[in-house]
Subunit: 221 residues, 2 copies
Amino acid sequence: MTSVDEPARPNGRIRDAARTQAEILDVATQEFARAGYDGARVDEIAARTRTTKRMIYYYFGGKEQLFTAVLERAYGVIREAEQKLDVEHLDPVAAIRRLAELTFDHHEQHPDFIRLVSIENIHGAEHIAASEKLGRIGSPALDVIRRILAAGQESGLFTADVDAVDLHAMISSFCFFRVSNRHTFGALFGRDLVDPAQREHYRTMLGDMVIAYLTADRATD
Amino acid sequence: MTSVDEPARPNGRIRDAARTQAEILDVATQEFARAGYDGARVDEIAARTRTTKRMIYYYFGGKEQLFTAVLERAYGVIREAEQKLDVEHLDPVAAIRRLAELTFDHHEQHPDFIRLVSIENIHGAEHIAASEKLGRIGSPALDVIRRILAAGQESGLFTADVDAVDLHAMISSFCFFRVSNRHTFGALFGRDLVDPAQREHYRTMLGDMVIAYLTADRATD
DNA sequence: GCGCTAATGTACGAACTAGTACGTTAGCTA
DNA sequence: TAGCTAACGTACTAGTTCGTACATTAGCGC
């Protein structure tokens, strides 16, 4: 299921640096997501690739840097998706609900990414800190939220004192938890949070929650 | 900082099975939470104990079972805390807010527990599944939520179609995410979700969110 | 076609790590 | 106080795992 297919070559190996690197990253993503950083095996990653372990060290330098590269690519994917967000033509309430739903969908569709982020948190985000790419590139989604919030607050639809980063945290927490904690939650409470039959239910619940929060009138003290 | 101090014994070792086991569990909890399941080192756990690695295998059988025992004890602590919940004398709105706040506080005070749960999710909750104790002991908090919800729905304060498990998931997701993802979130957005100065802010935000969700009037379609 | 370099493969090693075989002793009981 | 067993310690091993030294070749530029 990798995006690369090879031109029919008799028996030999093809030289294609980009393809080799991409394939290593594909497999490494799966392996790290499956077993965690320390649980992942470099030999196992190599074995599931058309190349050898030698290439992992040739291109990435080591296990640590490979994981960083995996993270960088994974974050790249979501940033790309966020750039395609097109909700600002909607009224603020509909826009926020739509944004929440897209966040919900994206989390559901990328469980490996969720696992990688969980793993990175276990390790204190040290790989993000070590990465130049991931340094501090605020997400496009945040800009979108900022603009919608401003519009909603101006028109008096939204409570005034809500911050974009906090709202992003609120939406993310629900979407993230549902995927990241589905195993323990399911084992303890007997309910599968990612059951396809309940998908619409939770999607609606998230939207309702966020809109209710934004439009509630609170005592300002 | 362990809860056990020894009776002044000249130079010798004291025999105290319970103390030895408790000390192993204390250290193991820290070590697993620090480094993840595969990152944790049995030798390291033993070294930070007044006993030896042999005892870990003597009492627990192996690394796998040790982690399960650590989880069992950690879940026991929160179940104990939940049993002390005393909010049902309040009106439903105040009761739910108080419950949310106590959940918030508990998550903040037990980051190691959060990490253990994250780790267990990476491993598909297989240790919970393997544990007899953790099999399916519904949390006391859930019963409390159930009763408050029923009261709130009866009196017409709360929207009728909200379920206790779902509400528990909603509250937990916010509290859990704030602690579990603080490193990546901080690194990416430059905001520390567990900054003490922001503690009250997020605590209030959680309560506002939950109450707004429960009391909002939604179109029933 | 020649040569040069990026790309690749093979084989191996040093260090680590979970787990165990075997021996010892504290301290309760009769 | 003799004896027994739960509790404990030491030393070791078998297998694993990251990483590398060394050898090889594809294919582009000239």
